[in-house]
Point group: C2
Chain length 618, copies 2
């Protein structure tokens, strides 16, 4: 193989990489980068993180034998090279498309995706589970977790580390250290990592690796003598110098993450040890693509419509997130108690204005949603009005804190739940379909789901000043659509067309519903405060023979089911048809998702005309 030109499509098995020379690998890396840039600029997806791990991924597949060795990519937004090298080169053009390759790891997609990914900080725990299973199975292969420094701000990563170090299994944790999560990393741990990133106080990584590989003695004679005669403190500096060694790992690093042969040596050394090893790899986010190297934040995620310099989706000046951020700024001017919290999502949730204007009252806590809520509760107990802006799917991490630290004691805080509803191309792991069922299980919460910017403003204001306990305002990743025929409100609006049929919905799809109701001449109720249900809503519903509830959210325990049980208790016995999402929704464009789950205007009309083949009705 060594004498031929090797291109990506020649590789049928990732382990064939081990037969390439280093120059051939470097060439291949160039081809990989081109492919990633071309595809992402067209389909959208994560760019900077993927460009940073090209050499690392090639080195991993040269040293380890996937799928017997298990490679677990934390978050998975750096695994495109891995996908290209593991049989998905041909399908890569369908990245993030309906029916195509996922932008994250999906075991259902390839046996080389050892574990599902999407949410942060899971890889060490998952890889440790696999390493322990292999140990019990008598299997000498390795489990390899690849995790960025950003993911280390999540407590789950620490829980994994705490458990990993104590066992004698074949776990290797590779820290992909680029000093950035999505925006600049926060917290003491990040500072600590950076302090050791270039540290020369330890034993030279090269020496350690050469020693493990059997090439040279670990330490030279003069150093040995010093260690033997000096106090234990000095010994610990030389032998036992990082937090990771305190946690029971062998620490190797820092390694240049763009030098394949250096990476390979380190990984081979790690593999040879057959015990938990922590490999510290320095990478450059956006490597090899100048605009992304200079501004990795801007190239973190490219929208699904592709990258254009003047694309409003790139600077998000017209979106619910943006409106939430600006509303918060406006309210904060008059209300010095208002504080804002983000879990490493300052820009994506529109909090950049607040952070610039009120830096003292702004808290980026890292990817730590549990802490965000408990910390918010602490702020509230100190007389502050906290606003935690968070993606719907990531809020799942705060479930216990919302119950235990906030709701039982009726602590007042506002959740700005962004990416509520379908997120489209990111797929199952990122869908915002469970926040309503989740919140409705918690006694005392209030949930708003506005459908316009003006409503969003009204809801945030009502959530702060018109409720107690936990109040959530949820909104989609989208810009508003102007709907004729409905006023803005923070409670509900009914539009009567003289029909015996009432249609109900909330949030973004209200736009579709108004159109569908008009052409079918149904009455329409737009809910904005969706929980608890206003008594007046119950009374109004009692007047109808048929009710059709359309919900862009999970069916079980959702707002529609809740309304039905309330109506039933009130004596309603008419038709009640729920159209909502069952199961985990796969990646597809927003309009494909809405259509698939019968939440598009056309599908709504079909259901209202009773000619749909939908199963859910009475």
């Amino acid at each position: 193989m060594n004498n031929k030109e090797i291109t990506l499509k020649d590789l049928s098995d990732p382990h064939e990489l081990s037969r390439l020379s280093i120059p051939q690998c470097d060439k291949l890396c160039g081809e990989i980068r081109e492919n990633i840039i071309r595809t992402v600029m067209k389909n959208g997806g994560h760019l900077s993180s993927n460009l940073g791990t090209v050499e690392l991924t090639v080195a991993i597949h040269r040293v380890f034998r996937s799928p017997a060795d298990k490679i677990v990519w934390d978050v998975g937004h750096q695994a495109y090279t891995h996908k290209l090298l593991t049989g998905r080169y041909d399908d890569f053009s369908l990245l993030r498309k309906n029916g195509g390759i996922s932008g994250f790891c999906r075991p259902s997609e390839s046996e080389h995706d050892a574990f599902i990914s999407g949410h942060s900080s899971t890889s060490i725990s998952a890889a440790l589970g696999m390493a322990e299973a292999m140990r019990l199975n008598g299997d000498r292969h390795h489990a390899v977790a690849v995790i960025g420094d950003g993911a280390f701000t999540g407590g789950l990563a620490y829980e994994g580390l705490n458990n990993a170090g104590k066992s004698n299994n074949n776990l290797i944790v590779i820290l992909n250290h680029n000093d950035m999560s999505i925006s600049k990393n926060v917290g003491a741990f990040a500072r600590y990592l950076t302090s050791i990133r270039g540290n020369t106080a330890y034993l030279n990584a090269k020496k350690k690796i050469e020693y493990i590989l059997g090439n040279t003695p670990f330490v030279g004679e003069p150093i040995k003598k010093v260690i033997q005669t000096s106090k234990s403190a000095l010994k610990s500096v030389l032998y036992h110098s990082t937090m990771f060694e305190d946690m029971g790992f062998v620490y190797l690093g820092p390694i240049d993450g763009h030098n394949i042969s250096e990476l390979e040596d380190a990984l081979r050394a790690a593999k040879k040890l057959h015990r938990p090893v922590f490999v510290h790899v320095n990478t450059v986010k956006g490597k090899g693509f100048r605009p992304a190297e200079i501004n990795p934040g801007a190239f973190h995620a490219i929208p699904s419509c592709g990258y254009r310099k003047s694309n409003p989706n790139n600077d998000v000046t017209d979106s619910f997130s943006e409106t939430a951020g600006k509303t918060l700024c406006r309210l904060a001017e008059k209300n010095p108690e208002i504080c804002a919290i983000t879990a490493a999502m300052k820009y994506a949730t529109g909090l950049q204005y607040f952070s610039a204007k009120y830096p003292e009252r702004f808290f980026d806590v890292g990817i730590a949603e549990q802490h965000a809520v408990t910390f918010a509760a602490g702020l509230a107990k100190g007389g502050r009005l906290p606003f935690f802006a968070v993606y719907s799917s990531f809020l799942q991490r705060s479930y216990d804190q919302l119950i235990h630290d906030a709701s039982i004691d009726k602590v007042h805080m506002v959740l700005g739940i962004d990416r509520a509803g379908f997120v489209g191309e990111d797929g199952e792991t990122h869908q915002g379909l469970l926040d309503v069922p989740m919140l409705l299980t918690i006694p005392g919460v209030t949930v708003y789901s506005p459908s316009t910017y003006r409503e969003l403003e009204m809801c945030i204001e009502s959530a702060f000043f018109g409720t107690d306990g936990v109040a959530a305002v949820r909104y989609p990743k989208d810009c508003e659509k102007v709907t004729f025929g409905a006023e803005d409100t923070d409670s509900f609006i009914i539009t009567e067309n003289g029909s015996r049929k009432l249609t109900i919905s909330y949030g973004r799809i209200v736009h579709n519903l108004y159109a569908a109701a008009e052409s079918t001449e149904c009455d329409v109720m737009k809910l904005v405060k969706i929980y608890p249900i206003d008594k007046q809503i119950i009374e109004l519903c009692m007047n109808y023979d048929e009710i059709y509830f359309f919900e862009e959210g999970s069916r079980h325990g959702g707002a529609a089911e809740h309304l039905l049980t309330e109506l039933y208790g009130n004596g309603y016995r008419g038709k009640f048809v729920i159209t909502a999402v069952d199961g985990f929704a796969k990646q597809a464009s927003l309009s494909e998702c809405l259509d698939k789950y019968s939440l598009s205007e056309a599908k709504m009309i079909k259901i209202l005309n009773n000619c749909a083949e939908e199963r859910i009705e009475t």
Copy 2:
């Protein structure tokens, strides 16, 4: 005050403690211990942990001014001294009783309980929130988190620490280091703490404290010279030697946690610094009560019926937990793939047999429920059959992992959900009332709720070998009650008395229901597999005019509401009365709880005879 005999009941304000002499304090500590031992042996509660913090609590209240300074007790099972010193001496005899003093911290109970507690690892985040609020308010008081080494196995504590160190606020974290959580602590971090517990390599804590308090120079001249001339590595050993200093804290310790004057000096020094300080305090669990000092695990929690040597509740030989543990052992013998996981609850969940018999397949992960589920998913991906035994209320911490790491990829694991239903005296923070609504929001889960030991065995077996994805088997903190007239099953049983009224329930209260149904001549359906609902159940229900569902769980999104929506979709229009729990249930004995929420036999009969004044019906 110095010349009088001072007893507990003389103190009206905790700050009066500062006027006592050290010998007076020591005497008071003796009185506090007596009071705690007497009350706990009678009412039940946490003994060892509370005896370990007597001097620490006295010292805290001598140095800080609660409630202006905020004292946050992690978990809260060490806060009895705090309660006795903050105006609750007279009511202390009602500890854990209906309407009495909580065994944990409750802001609703006293302004001195700065933050709610019950679940582990929340204190640093909460105290940091309060410290930041005070900083913004221009308030120079302190927030003090008191947290045990056991709680440091939870990722939330790490998230708090990671965020705390970077800010210049008045946060003090006191590590109450007793080397035990409930059973012996696990994980690399615990080992690390122990390694520094008696470490003499740092600058003597006393010197550091004296320096801060302004009494002596920080380091003597000879040491100064060494530092100035030596390499930075040596400097870091002397100046910057613990993980906590790496995280941005000033580290003071280790301090003798039973020496009030040493504690006071350290706390005064910490207070003076006005920046994040970490105070490492060594305590002895069970201090001052010989049986508890020798065996702190056995005296961790005393049951509500009080302590008796031969009390079966102390060795739990007859309970659902015990049956689950033994069933697991039996299945594990034939199935080498079965592994068991606990989050620091080996004994309480009956896993001690498994851990003794199959130590290789047993994993105590510390108080890390997030990790437990993701780790279990990793084990399952490696071909293992994981069983995670966990309290209902603590499982809330795993919500995202159950969705993201397990259910989307349909990873097969079994949850043994212990303490499902009312837990009685532990109150709101520990009730097992939300697991059913929580699990029902997750697509693809299976939920069993057996009512007898034999059913528990059948359900665990079915969960392992008859389901896929996440299968949960939930059971109460209790022993079984023999119910006449119902066979054991892992699905459901209907007992027909020829009535048009059907009563339905599941779990422990089925015992009450059978009795109530007999005296009212209703038909009875016992559900064991409560989700997903069997089609046959729907068909059978359709035959009745009235259905009464009794649920020992939260109403919103529970099994009863779910059945109603399924029945409605199938055309059922009869009466459907749900009796379940609304809101957060307060502490009381089990029978008081059941009676309060109309789940006792007598109250069920009332409802079935329609003479109840319950609101929930149609």
